[in-house]
């Protein structure tokens, strides 16, 4: 199995499975409620024209967040 990487390191078009949330408190609960529980498939859709925020397909909705949140989501890339 690949080593976990922060979600913001993946390029556009990559798919990955969530392994862990490296956040506590409210941020963690919010990320969970967006559907980012371990095992969830996430697709990197696009970056904003200036590189940040990044938009992801999470369980059928396109949701964007800033680098600061994305790097708290650890994932393994899948094809």
């Amino acid at each position: 199995m690949n080593k976990s990487t922060p979600l913001n390191r993946l390029g556009n078009g990559c798919c990955a499975l969530v392994t862990e949330l490296n956040a506590q408190g409210l941020t963690r609960r919010r990320l969970l409620d967006l559907g980012l529980v371990p095992g969830t498939k996430v697709e990197v859709i696009r970056r904003s024209p200036l590189g940040d925020p990044i938009a992801f397909n999470i369980r059928g909705a396109i949701i964007a967040f800033r680098k600061e949140e994305a790097e708290k989501v650890l994932v393994v890339q899948v094809s």
């Binding site: 024209p49 964007a64 967040f65």
Partner: protein, 465 residues
């Protein structure tokens, strides 16, 4: 009834049951719920065809692309302004002609009834003129701008604007959704202030609230558009004129966005220090706007609402201006005396006393600033019928000595001064703190004063005027 047992105790008991596993509980709960929805969805949803074109993604590839994202954004903004400016021209003139024709008949009626001069002055020259101005200047651009804007909103474009611009707001220590609250501000700053509720963090909500006025609202657009048409596009053909005026207005809006970002940055470094809070933004699928609904909603909810507010405030303001222009103390009217008193300071800012006074009297609603200005100019001399831009040019440039600098400073001050009374009232209601409300007026006003004085001083030092 067991009055000793409280729910708080239950919480303690729950802790006892679950012991030291507390940490992973929320994760487990959310996972179980999502797993259940995933399984149900797999069971009930099937695709009849696998390959389908994802239009949303294709559209977003262009609209949020590094190359086209920003040009399209400013292009759309410019197109909306251009349609508004070009489209509002003729209905505005038509309305002005009709309403001032009615004014002539009203005057005849008052003469026929041999009504006292002051009554005719107050009601017809004061109240009615202000109303006629507000309606003819404001109604056409609003009836065009609001539906266009609502169309963009309905189609799902606004979240893309927030997505494109977020990096700037992050750098300024502000929230990405501030772009959405600013978009609402184009319609009405009070609505923009209410929209700030979507920003969860109090610090960032306050930043968005205090800077919302740097987005010109519909009450100020007519002033800005009229002056842009007058000064930037005054000497060229009508088509080219509205095109150049559009560029001028779009440029001013971009300038307003730059000021917003600068002030947001300044606030987040001083009064409202703090780290940017977490930010999630959904980019919903594009939807075909419901044109009929859009028209009804934007006309009823927005146009009629803003216009009626303007009318309610314009009527007494018109009367007040007439009284001020026709009551003499010593050897000058109150209006002239007040304007003279303001004149030295206004002069430093590239304005004159009448302009500054119009902004002050326009505090209840920005829509009436320009009408008040014209009324105060006109009421001093003979009555001029303002039916076209040419009449306006004559009044401002030939009779009151406006230069390009006067026009520029007036437009900048229209963008950066205190928010209107309604907006201030809304800020007070939302924040419940008069210090912030006061600051919401002081910050933009001092920025406007500083910019105007700087430009004027430079222009005079370089002998440009």
């Amino acid at each position: 009834m067991n009055s000793e047992a409280a729910v708080g105790n239950l919480l303690e008991e729950a802790k006892g049951i679950i012991g030291d596993q507390q940490a992973g509980i929320r994760d487990g709960i959310v996972k179980s719920i999502y797993d259940t929805s995933e399984n149900i969805t797999k069971d009930v949803v099937s695709y009849t065809s696998v390959h389908r074109v994802d239009w949303d993604r294709k559209i977003d590839n262009i609209i949020t692309s590094p190359i086209w994202g920003f040009p399209i954004m400013f292009g759309l903004l410019a197109v909306v302004f251009w349609i508004t400016i070009a489209g509002a021209n003729y209905p505005s003139e038509f309305l002005a002609t009709q309403l001032f024709w009615v004014q002539g008949r009203l005057t005849e009626l008052f003469l026929a009834l041999s009504a006292p001069e002051w009554l005719h002055g107050f009601l017809v020259l004061g109240v009615y003129t202000a109303l006629a101005w507000v309606v003819s200047v404001m109604l056409p651009p609003m009836a065009i701008f609001f539906p266009l804007f609502t169309l963009l909103e309905d189609a799902g474009y606004l979240p893309r604007v927030a997505f494109n611009l977020d990096r700037f707001f992050k750098k300024a220590g502000a929230h990405g959704k501030q772009a959405l609250t600013m978009s609402m501000g184009f319609g009405c700053n009070a609505a923009g202030v209410i929209a700030c509720r979507i920003i969860e963090s109090p610090r960032e909500r306050l930043i968005a609230t205090l800077t919302n006025t740097f987005v010109p609202c519909n009450g100020r657009f007519p002033t800005i558009i009229a002056l842009a048409s007058l000064f930037i596009a005054g000497s060229v053909s009508v088509t080219l004129g509205s095109f150049i005026a559009t560029l001028g207005v779009a440029g001013l809006v971009v300038f307003g966005i730059a000021v917003t970002l600068f002030v947001s940055w300044l606030l987040s470094k001083t009064l409202l220090k703090g780290e940017p809070s977490s930010f999630t933004l959904e980019l919903p699928p594009y939807r075909k706007p419901q044109v009929g609904q859009v028209l009804v909603r934007s006309v009823i909810d927005r146009t009629i609402f803003v216009l009626s507010r303007a009318v309610v405030i314009a009527a007494p303001a018109g009367g007040l201006v007439w009284i001020m222009a026709n009551t003499t103390i010593g050897d000058s009217t109150i209006l002239a005396a007040a304007a003279n008193w303001l004149d030295p300071f206004a002069g430093l800012m590239g304005l004159d006393g009448f302009i500054l006074m119009a902004f002050i009297l326009g505090l209840p609603a920005n829509e009436i600033v320009f009408p008040i200005l014209i009324m105060s100019y006109v009421s001093g001399g003979t009555l001029v019928q303002m039916e076209s831009l040419a009449d306006l040019r004559h009044l401002l440039i030939d009779q009151h000595g406006w230069t390009w600098l006067t026009g520029l400073c007036t437009v900048i001050f229209a963008l950066c001064h205190w928010p209107c009374g309604t907006t201030l009232f809304t800020i007070q209601r939302e924040q419940k703190n008069w210090r912030w409300t006061l600051l919401a007026a002081i910050i933009p006003a001092s920025i406007g004063v500083i910019i105007c004085i700087t430009i004027t001083t430079l222009a005079r030092a370089l002998n440009l005027v």
